[in-house]
Amino acid sequence: MAVSPAAGPLLSLAVVAAGLLAGAWVVSVLDELAAAVVAGRRPRSPFLGPLRRGARLLVQQRTVSEHPDAAAWLLAPAVYAGLAAAGLALVPWSAERAPADLPAGIVVWGAVEALAVVAVFLHGWSANTHLGVLGGYRFVSLGLPVMLISMFVLIGAALPAESLRFSAVVASQEGMWNVVRQPLGLPLFLLVGWAVTFWGPLDFADSADLAGGTTADVSGPSLLAWELARRALLVAFSAIAATAFLGGWLGPLLPGPLWLVLKTLAVLAVLVVLGRRLPRVDTSRMLTLLWVVLLPLAFLALLEAGLEALW
């Protein structure tokens, strides 16, 4: 039941790239609006502000540390962004079109998450600076177990679809969205989203106590590339969440792709707004929480998905 690719690879690339760029801007807009609400003030130039800051980063010099791993330092944001794009390419746009609806789409998304962890660690390590190395190291130890949770809930979404293809997962939600029949799945998956993009309460890589962590010694266009890539992965993640749990392009009246965009925006809003309201979780507490609470919850989510699929 493969879905035909959307009118050629180049067009897919263009649409995905445009989607990620626009999405990254939307993330910044939502972030500023949320920051204003939480801080109790007016938003400061939410729409043009991110663009202006991006322009300033383009004009700024790219500082280089004393003896970095230059190739890895340049490649880390590129790989991170490439993974985000690949992840977004897995998402079906409508019943007939998807850029890359692979038979094992869920497995590819798992690979995207795992390699994203590598990219973040590389970004911290390759600068050869102390705050960066600490940020990368801390991120990896907490990023690894999060992959497990992600895969458990996605496999739970795959059970009723009897397939690992994202288009099949969407089609299986024709009668009822996964967020309704597998209520534990989406909240756990959102936590994974925060973890993979080290956003909000799970920001262990670029955190304030490390003066920016992996970005402490990154400036100018490199910083712009990194922040773009990070927001791009958040957008891709939200699209996957919308596909696996909120029914993707399904919905009455409006055309399929528009529903997908709306649902992605909804997930993005939740991630960004809640991210502003919560301080970073303590590291050791997070480790214990992950393994002792969240992973068993993921088992439960899988169990409920299995039971629901059978009966």
Partner: protein
């Protein structure tokens, strides 16, 4: 030409400022976070302008020069609030000058500042050593200008792995300005601490302001801004408002928010070893009276030293460091 256009577009954004805070001006610099035209950043790499607040003591001038040189071009420095201008009830408002500096830098009207320190690596390495990279043997020498990290026993179980040693300087974000610590880490757990110099004297800060600093250090800048706004607007905020912010902190810091005994610098070398980085920074960010019970931390295997009990919990007097 495209650069000019980009610069013009970027000039309307808030100016990115890295603050180097001196004695007495910590609260004033923090209040700049409430201004829309200025964005206080955590690392000089993200900044265009270095704001030197107050008079930095001579022993830290070199550290200041290091921070200055770490700003990327285009860069500028603004000196604010030095002794001379302080008698008129406050150091004045630096924001218009900051905004003007930022604009001029981005529009190319002001040249970028030259580096203050000599263009030399920390140790000469070119042409020396085994392959001309400055290293000797397996891990000796100074390859590319610095030695490699050497092994040492870990605090917790004596496992010998690499020790990362460095000094976090007087202008580390979220820590009390002027505090210079020499740290030895294994992984991200502190093994040794030595206080090289203590924090600069500052006027005492209200509890809500200290909570705001802690929130900022634990990655909740918007909540911190809200607390700061409240602290500035109402010198005596209601207890329930303070409690509401404290509750948010608890999530980031498991130990309960109690114990307001002032912590002296002499206790740091005994307190920090064994703590992982996040907790260590949170402890330092909440100084002098950490807003959480120190006894909740596991005692350090080196020397669990009791904190000297204070007869009463009055806030530190004017001139002592908060």
């Amino acid at each position: 030409m495209a650069v000019r256009a980009l610069g013009q577009f970027a000039a309307a954004a808030p100016v990115a400022v890295f603050p180097a805070v001196g004695p007495g001006l910590r609260s004033h610099v923090e209040d700049l976070a409430l201004r829309a035209e200025v964005e206080l950043v955590e690392t000089p790499r993200h900044a265009n302008v270095l704001l030197v607040a107050g008079t930095i003591p001579a022993e830290h001038r070199e550290a200041l020069a290091r921070v200055h040189d770490q700003l990327p071009n285009p860069r500028a420095t603004l000196r604010w609030g030095a002794e001379a201008g302080r008698d008129e009830g406050g150091p004045g408002d630096p924001v218009p000058r900051l905004v003007a500096l930022g604009r001029e830098l981005l529009l190319g009207e002001r040249p970028s500042e030259a580096p203050l320190l000599a263009d030399e690596p920390p140790h000469p390495w070119r042409g020396r050593g085994d392959h001309g990279q400055g290293g000797e043997g397996m891990m000796g020498g100074t390859p590319y200008g610095r030695p490699m990290a050497m092994t040492g026993d870990d605090l917790r179980d004596g496992l010998a792995l690499d020790r990362l040693e460095f000094t976090i300087g007087p202008f580390f974000p979220h820590l009390p300005p002027g505090l210079v610590l020499r740290l030895v880490l294994q992984g991200d757990v502190v093994q040794e601490t030595e206080v090289v110099s203590g924090p600069y004297p500052q006027p005492p800060a209200s509890p809500l302001r200290r909570i705001s600093r802690l929130l900022r250090a634990t990655g909740a800048p918007s909540l911190a801004e809200r607390a700061l706004r409240l602290a500035v607007a109402e010198p005596e905020p209601a207890a329930r408002q303070v409690a509401a912010f404290s509750r948010r902190l608890r999530q980031a810091l498991p130990p309960a928010l109690e114990n307001r005994e002032p912590l002296a610098i002499e206790h740091l070398p005994h307190l920090l070893p064994g703590m992982e980085w996040g907790r260590a920074v949170a402890t330092l960010a909440g100084l002098p009276a950490p807003l959480f019970a120190l006894s909740a931390f596991a005692p350090s295997p080196i020397a669990p030293s009791p904190i000297a009990p204070q007869p009463d919990s009055t806030p530190p007097s004017e001139g002592s460091w908060p």
